[in-house]
Amino acid sequence: MSLNEVWEAASATPFIPLIAKDSQFSVGFNLLLLALVTATLFGLNRSFLGIVSLGIPAALASGFGAVFMICAAGVYV
């Protein structure tokens, strides 16, 4: 099977990004805001429970938020 035939066979499944270009800024901004709030709350009361309940969500929101924000800024990573 030639690669062009692979392309033709895949006509029903175009790539759809997780977040559309138009929504990247709002998603990225909100996730980073959430990360800032939760990281601040964790900073006020640093405990093992705090890591689980606030640190992990903050780190996750920060990871995904940073990726979407840099895409929104025009640097498509």
Partner: protein, 502 residues
Amino acid sequence: MRFFTATVLGLLAPSLCAATNLTTPSRLDLPSGFKPPQVFKNINLVRNTNLEKSYVRETINVVVENVDKQPQNDYYIPFPAEVFDRVGGFEVRDKKAPEKGRFDVDYTEAVPSDGNQYFVVHLPEPLAPKSQITLGISYSVLSSLSPLPATIGQADKQFLTYSFSAYMPSAYTTVTQKTKLKFPSNNVPDYTPTEGLKSGSDPERKGTTYTYGPYDTAEVAPGTEHPITVRYEFTKPVITVNLLERDLEVSHWGGNLATEERYWLRNNGSELTNQFSRVQWTFTSYQKAPTSALRELTYPLLPGSVDPYFIDDIGNVSTSRYRPSVGKSAGNLELKPRYPIFGGWNYSFRIGWNNDLASFLRRAAGVDSDSYVLKVPLIEGPKMAEGIQYERVVVRVVLPEGAHNVRFELLEGTNSNGLPGAKHIYAHLNTLKTYMDTLGRTTLTLEVDSLTDEARDSKFVVTYDHSMVDALRKPLTIFAGLLTVFVAAWGIGKIDISIKKR
């Protein structure tokens, strides 16, 4: 914990860039004194030489007969060694069945005894004795036109000369042959007439077409030359791109295909006799008179192209205009360099734009598949009536970080796509580290020499695998880093550093 361990191992594991069809062009070594075996005879040969653009485009139709007693399948086409590397987009097809695709062609090193280099055409099936096949051979020859006079005034007409042999250089005896030259205009002040090669006037002139021949050359030894030189008006720039670097950057997270092209461009036309006059240039521009200078480049962009930019060594060039596409029509990027580019002048610049990835990328085997297929133009480039020749083109496809099992394929149609065969394109994989990368992005690089704008819109397909772990590498790296900071902050906070009695 198992998930975390697996993730961390996944993040740190080197990307497996296994690829199975990457190519490194090689050339056949021929022994000194090599002469192609005289197993074929060219029964009838018609060479069409098109001089309408700033490079030479030749299409040759030749009826070939096997005069040997054994079936034969290797047909040799010679070129002088100094010309060989300037031959671009070489392609041979069966003229009567072009849809069967191009024939496999090998390149040879120069033969020291006669200085020739050969294209060795492998016929798909050996040609039986006394059988015939019609070959359609097409190629371009770059940098084979020279301006005469070499220097002109700023508003003068420009003339180019082209030298060739009335007898087509062939490794085999040719029974009859002729050459048709197509000029860009009627203004052909000088051409070499022949005497004694045929009865009647030679060349025959009809409008912008000059025909040398037909000649009866059954008794002429292969390789015999009869030099001809023509000189014709070409008051247009001879646009030569010394190097084009083209990057296609695929972003799954951004849903974007970013294209950037870097040009090192030169006008190989007549140089200016006197110093450049801005007043005279303004006058010429106002009259819209023909000029040998490059005034503007028109670059058609695919529908959906957005965010175009045009930058040179100084910075943003504001003398550009983008006419976006409407519906499915192409957009047009009109680029006006900072200064008109006269003969011998250089200009380097970069342009870029973005497209939605959905038009170029598909999941190869269903929605949940880790396998992707990408279809993009190999080169696009400005569309100019006078044509553009590219001495070297380097195309980089920057795939997402972690992409592996990369394969590529050039698309062939029923006509020439202006490219050499896939095995004559140097392809290799490496990694490129840029924003937010830990391992670097898998990059497929294709390098081609001697192309022309005939290759505009030639497309190629790339397939690669990219798993969920590869996709999550960027956010999870940041996640892991930040979580480490939190744990460290908690851990350090637990250390008792108070001063008290023990």
